[in-house]
Amino acid sequence: MPAPIQSSDTGLDRFSKMLPADVTAAFISTKASLVSAFQTPEQQNYPVVISFFIILCLSPLYFRYVTKIANRWHRYFLVGTSAVFAISLANAQLASFLIDAIGALHIPTETVNPTVSAMSAILPILWTLLISQIALSALSDKAVDPGAPA
């Protein structure tokens, strides 16, 4: 569970607090439940993607009121990280959903599959290894909650 970043935290502590393991775990279990509830893969796309958006909308409130992260930069980053992990975990459902959604606008969708596949493969690596580190350095001072309990 991500906790508020404190000024006394080491680099590793700060980094671990940038990864929202609890929200990711919630999405993984929701997805597993939906996949077993909707047995055919064609029916799973919409429930999984809708649950992704619901969790994404709820996560700022969760970070604010449950994990008590007062710093908004930290919260924004955690929401972004949740989204990146969710795209990677449900790339098939997301691609199918986007093909339907974009197709409904009569726009060709042949670039959706390669784009989502590339994003789901590259984004988590980039995010964890590079963007988190950059964000940590850039926002380190901003993300510290001065009033957080030690």
């Binding site: 047995q39 799973q44 009569h106 042949e110 959706v112």
Partner: protein, 242 residues
């Protein structure tokens, strides 16, 4: 605000005009074992995709040979073999010498070209060209002939129609209407490939597939499938994009 709505509507209608109705792509699925029986799948790079009635297939993404087929996920194993037939009509950009080609998966039984003896296992065929005319093909298939009578159609390299088992219970020529080719649909740039795919229904989750070549020059593919298993029958259109 109003002008943005008008602009968006205009753009949408332009897109609609420009791309027509065929804008969908193959949709990836996580687990092909659980698809409904009779869902036509495309397999590429270890992943399976479901297909809308009309899809755009990117050659860059899927290559010049696409694997299509059905998952053998019947509830119970059957001891009796069956088959499904497919007919793909490919429109190309250049004139073609061959207009009909023939594909047969392994496991069939057929008569040799000349011998009158019993049926025997026959080899698979991977695109034998039919060198006769469309009229010859159609007239041979006009009156429900059996594989024995169809083995010597002028233009056939080797017998193609066959039986699913040695007991001659089910022949690939069983539906003569399906094998008819409408000459009006054919141009000098069209190739029809006929497929017969033999299988034994079972919950094995094996892929009962056939290949369709979408090499450079192929613009579109119209695919029709029939089978005694009603869920397998249907048709699809593929628009091939680079």
């Amino acid at each position: 605000m109003k002008k943005y709505v008008i602009l968006a509507s205009l753009l949408l209608s332009l897109c609609s005009e420009a791309w027509g109705e065929c804008v969908s792509s193959p949709k990836p699925i996580e687990d092909a074992r659980t698809v409904s029986l009779g869902t036509l799948l495309l397999s590429a790079s270890g992943r399976y995709y479901v297909l809308d009635p009309c899809v755009r297939i990117s050659r860059r993404q899927f290559g010049s040979r696409i694997k299509l087929g059905f998952m053998n996920n019947f509830e119970k194993a059957d001891t009796v073999a069956t088959f499904y037939s497919a007919k793909s009509k490919r429109a190309l950009t250049l004139d073609q010498n061959t207009h009909i080609s023939l594909v047969r998966t392994p496991g069939w039984f057929g008569y040799p070209t000349t011998s009158e003896t019993e049926v025997q296992p026959v080899l698979e065929t991977r695109g034998d060209p039919f060198r006769g005319t469309i009229e010859q093909w159609n007239s041979a298939h006009a009156n429900g002939s059996s594989p024995k009578e169809l083995r010597n159609i002028p233009g056939l390299i080797r017998p193609w129609h066959a039986f699913v088992d040695q007991g001659l219970s089910l022949a690939s020529s069983a539906d003569p209407q399906f094998w008819q080719i409408n000459p009006a649909d054919m141009t000098s740039k069209t190739i029809v490939t006929n497929y017969i795919i033999r299988f034994t229904p079972a919950p094995t989750n094996t892929f009962l597939d056939f290949d369709v070549y979408i090499q450079d020059g192929v613009k579109s593919v119209d695919l029709t499938i029939i089978s005694q298993i009603e869920a397998f029958s249907g048709s699809r259109t593929f628009i091939i994009v680079p």
